[in-house]
Subunit: 178 residues, 4 copies
Amino acid sequence: MSDAAPEWAIAHWLNTHAPITLASLRGRAVLAVAFQMLCPGCVSQGLPQAQRARAMFAEGDLAVIGLHTVFEHHEAQGSAAALSAFLHEYRIHFPVGIDAQDAHGPITMRAYGMRGTPTTLLYDRAGRLRLHEFGHVEDMRLGAAIMAVLGDGRATAGGGGGGDGEAAAEVCRPEGCT
Amino acid sequence: MSDAAPEWAIAHWLNTHAPITLASLRGRAVLAVAFQMLCPGCVSQGLPQAQRARAMFAEGDLAVIGLHTVFEHHEAQGSAAALSAFLHEYRIHFPVGIDAQDAHGPITMRAYGMRGTPTTLLYDRAGRLRLHEFGHVEDMRLGAAIMAVLGDGRATAGGGGGGDGEAAAEVCRPEGCT
Amino acid sequence: MSDAAPEWAIAHWLNTHAPITLASLRGRAVLAVAFQMLCPGCVSQGLPQAQRARAMFAEGDLAVIGLHTVFEHHEAQGSAAALSAFLHEYRIHFPVGIDAQDAHGPITMRAYGMRGTPTTLLYDRAGRLRLHEFGHVEDMRLGAAIMAVLGDGRATAGGGGGGDGEAAAEVCRPEGCT
Amino acid sequence: MSDAAPEWAIAHWLNTHAPITLASLRGRAVLAVAFQMLCPGCVSQGLPQAQRARAMFAEGDLAVIGLHTVFEHHEAQGSAAALSAFLHEYRIHFPVGIDAQDAHGPITMRAYGMRGTPTTLLYDRAGRLRLHEFGHVEDMRLGAAIMAVLGDGRATAGGGGGGDGEAAAEVCRPEGCT
């Protein structure tokens, strides 16, 4: 769990003014969902879950990123225009990067050894990969995993349990916690 | 967040060999779901969610408890026999305590100022109430809240960030974490 | 398909001012759902479906009836008070009859050879049983089956295709049919 | 309800060996779902419903057709290649026609005055439009509407109620009907 994960290789970004690197997100946890716009499981589960995570956690704590890792049907889903239309219709507002292709296919997908889409990647505040899973991750488990890396990062940064208390407070409503 | 929460007042326990007190669970986080067997939102959401939490977290880390807080329809749902049949049919295997009644209604419900059912209570390892919410809590948020109190308890117990790392590991699968 | 189906043996009716017999519903199609209040599949699927059918078809065309066929947990779900509380909480407003018991169990359930709950019974306007199915019936199939017996009854009663045209019109909205 | 509905204007067919006309389907009821491959409501509801209808009714009684009525994002969803990839991934096997475009947009969509996608069209065996609805149609209502036009068509064709009895039999299982 020592080293940072491979940097993403992105050909084009949507929903962001400037390119994003994994390194530039250091200090925040990162949830990255690798998907294809014509992948039914991505559309019905992976992307709505990423939207729920975006709505639930603070931007300053958790970055949510889409990775468009096209490994089939390039003519249908390989263009930025097609992806842009898709993101518009599905109201996906978080940044999405198009995985760069070389002669062997999408580079980031290969660098991480992804089995397919959707794949969920979760990084801690130090950029270390803490969860890598193909297929559906239950919401409760993903929520727990996100909080685990948030708490861990805070402990690392803050040197004590105090940060964890704050992390807990984030998920309590005012009337619900003592 | 300093003091322990009120002890439960239980008239009768099901799914356990011996009575359970909140105090006796010190050292573990506790998820308690207050419900009524004829409450539609409890049956469709609160109890299935508690079952998912039971399946997802280790027994040694998280206790899951049902509190049958009957404040209406006592003739239909007030008996241990009725509740026992319900638990059998819905395959609920975690311990359930029947909230003791006095002249004003269910005692534990009143002690906590619950607004109705379902109500979700989440306690940390020191028995402090960390989440108290009426109605549905999204799975992702509950998963995050559980992990927050687990991590917090470990930090309290262990004095450092190391425990949090273990908490994170719990929600990763072997092939999924580095 | 010639003879009328067995009459129901009902010990007690709820949600109706006067007892109901199958014979008294002649001229209307009848959807009867046999259920138990502690049967999870009845609560999650059978009864909500009956409510949807009640909302979708005209009362004058389709009667919707519940049959409480208690064959287990009599102490928990055998009383009219328990059932009444259940119907209140689940907002079930159509008439429900409690299947009369003899030494061998619920009489109507046995007369029809039901395998368990939920069981869906659909009768045509002449009181003939046209569908008898244990477990879940898909909404589309049940909608088709109801319309089939409605159309059939109308053809029987009216002697021509005209009635069928009206049946079709029932499921079109004004702006949607030519 | 006297005249046949407008013929479809199709630029290209998928999932069929030869072009299909509405006229050529005379004698069968027809369910046509107008959709766009990037329309969320089409993907989550309209198309799965059409697949359920395809599975539930006999091919000889009901034709199920998709109409790809592209009125936006032409660069992303306007090509046959893009649509073909979509149909492959979503396992849609019924015939789909691409609505022909003129300078004002998709011709069939305009001829029918469709408000958007998804739009459900249901024709009887004589090619008359019997249901035209924008947005989601509940499964129970669509099942009823399909059976209504099947029964109606049979009455028209067969001149009596006998055909309706057959229509009813289609939705009963052997053990379930008397």
